[in-house]
């Protein structure tokens, strides 16, 4: 059987990669991709804890389901905003969206 820590380490690495993607990328969609990686790391963690610590309960699964819903909502709104921004600025780089910056 695989120890719990393996799952946690994989999730931590995934989360780190996601953080790098969010912070370093210029394109708004690429930032969303990084966010999705972080979401997935969290999901792996939640389900690993559920399986190893309380497999007969439903709390972990319910948590994961709610995360699914939140991720779907986040992507839908994020991409709609992104398309609207692209229409207005003609660019998909977050560096170019600097109307409020001076």
């Amino acid at each position: 059987m695989i120890p719990l820590s393996w799952y946690l380490i994989v999730a931590a690495l995934l989360f780190g990669i996601g953080v790098y993607g969010v912070l370093a990328r210029k394109n708004a969609v690429a930032i969303l991709i990084g966010l999705e990686l972080m979401f997935n790391a969290v999901l792996v963690n939640v389900l690993a804890f559920w399986r190893y610590l309380q497999p007969t309960g439903t709390a972990g699964l319910v948590f994961a389901v709610i995360i699914f819903a939140v991720a779907a909502a986040e992507v839908a709104v994020g991409l709609a905003l992104f398309i609207a921004v692209y229409r207005r600025f003609g660019s998909s780089d977050v560096d170019d969206i600097n109307l409020l910056k001076w």
Partner: protein
């Protein structure tokens, strides 16, 4: 033995794909990396015996979220456009922060005795999917978060449509 092998293989593929997703300049390739990572996560869910969520992961993430992401990349890029530099000027700091975070998380996991000690002892009940369904609509269970999540989804739906349409209207106004 087999599960260990599958786990190691999946984890390796996932991490490489995740690196592709954040490092590739070609955004379509990056999105494909994301898709592979999402599939890998589904495999991990199967290993964790959360079958329903594994399939739901594929339906929701690969079927909806990843397709939306690929779609919007394609919408906002010309065909055959050359993909220039995709990182911003402060990427070394990003690398530093991400690396530090990962190392700290790793240290935390290592220092946590309860985590490294025991593998799973209890079996997952066979009717877990049914139990999950019942728990989600049970007044003594999780019906409130469930309903709140559905309201959130509805709000997101309306909001997304409004944002996209508002943009079109504004564009038309600008054109006269």
């Amino acid at each position: 033995m087999v599960t260990t092998f599958v786990f190691v293989l999946t984890a390796a593929v996932m991490l490489v794909a995740a690196l592709v997703a954040v490092l590739k300049n070609n955004l379509v390739h990056a999105a494909m990396g994301l898709v592979v990572t999402l599939f890998g996560t589904a495999v991990l869910f199967v290993l964790l015996e959360a079958y329903f969520l594994a399939v739901a992961q594929v339906v929701i993430y690969v079927g909806a979220i990843a397709i939306l992401i690929v779609f919007s990349i394609m919408l906002t890029r010309r065909v055959g456009a050359d993909w220039g530099q995709q990182t911003n000027a402060t990427w070394p700091f990003a690398l530093l922060v991400a690396g530090l975070l990962t190392v700290l998380l790793g240290l935390m996991v290592r220092g946590w005795a309860a985590v490294t000690a025991q593998p799973a002892s209890q079996a997952v009940p066979a009717d877990m999917t049914a139990r999950l369904g019942a728990a989600l609509v049970d007044p003594n269970g999780y019906v409130v978060p469930f309903e709140v999540a559905s309201v959130l989804l509805l709000a997101a739906l309306i909001g997304a449509v409004y944002v996209a349409w508002g943009g079109r209207k504004a564009e038309k106004d600008a054109q006269g």
